[in-house]
Amino acid sequence: DMKVTQMPRYLIKRMGENVLLECGQDMSHETMYWYRQDPGLGLQLIYISYDVDSNSEGDIPKGYRVSRKKREHFSLILDSAKTNQTSVYFCASSEGAGAEQFFGPGTRLTVL
């Protein structure tokens, strides 16, 4: 079953706390992505991972970092979260550069 999972689905944090968002996929896809989705803005790319320990900044990487130690797992870390990082975060994976992306269900993060 081709699936991308995200944990947790909902998260409330206080400003300054650290946040860990986790993503898994069971398709052995090399490429994985983290996006955030804000009303009226579509999806904005935070980071791309081409494979284990091979990550690249996207369009809005400031305030975020990522970790990929296993092909099937990709983490997004917010060190000292800010209120403007309140958003819905989506993880996606794809088989190759031109292939479709498979998306997880999203994590709704609120930073108070």
């Binding site: 081409y50 992306q101 997880g104 269900p105």
Partner: protein, 112 residues
Amino acid sequence: AQSVTQPDARVTVSEGASLQLRCKYSYSGTPYLFWYVQYPRQGLQLLLKYYSGDPVVQGVNGFEAEFSKSNSSFHLRKASVHWSDSAVYFCALRTGGYKVVFGSGTRLLVSP
């Protein structure tokens, strides 16, 4: 710079009516184009994709899209909409490499 524009933030159609959602892209090379759908509280799911060949591509659930290089467009169509088609629709463009640019989305409401 590459970009995707979905000029209609919201579209309302009656059940059984035909539908067209507009998408314009900006890219000088050969684009890879996608339409995704997002149902409430879910991730994005692929409707259809265009790489090359026949400019009219068929997707799931009766959706189709037509690529026009001269107009830089990739409009989504459906002959007869159902209430279950109510969702947010995203047009996306892959320009090269692994990055995909998303439009801001069109919220479709199908009225009874």
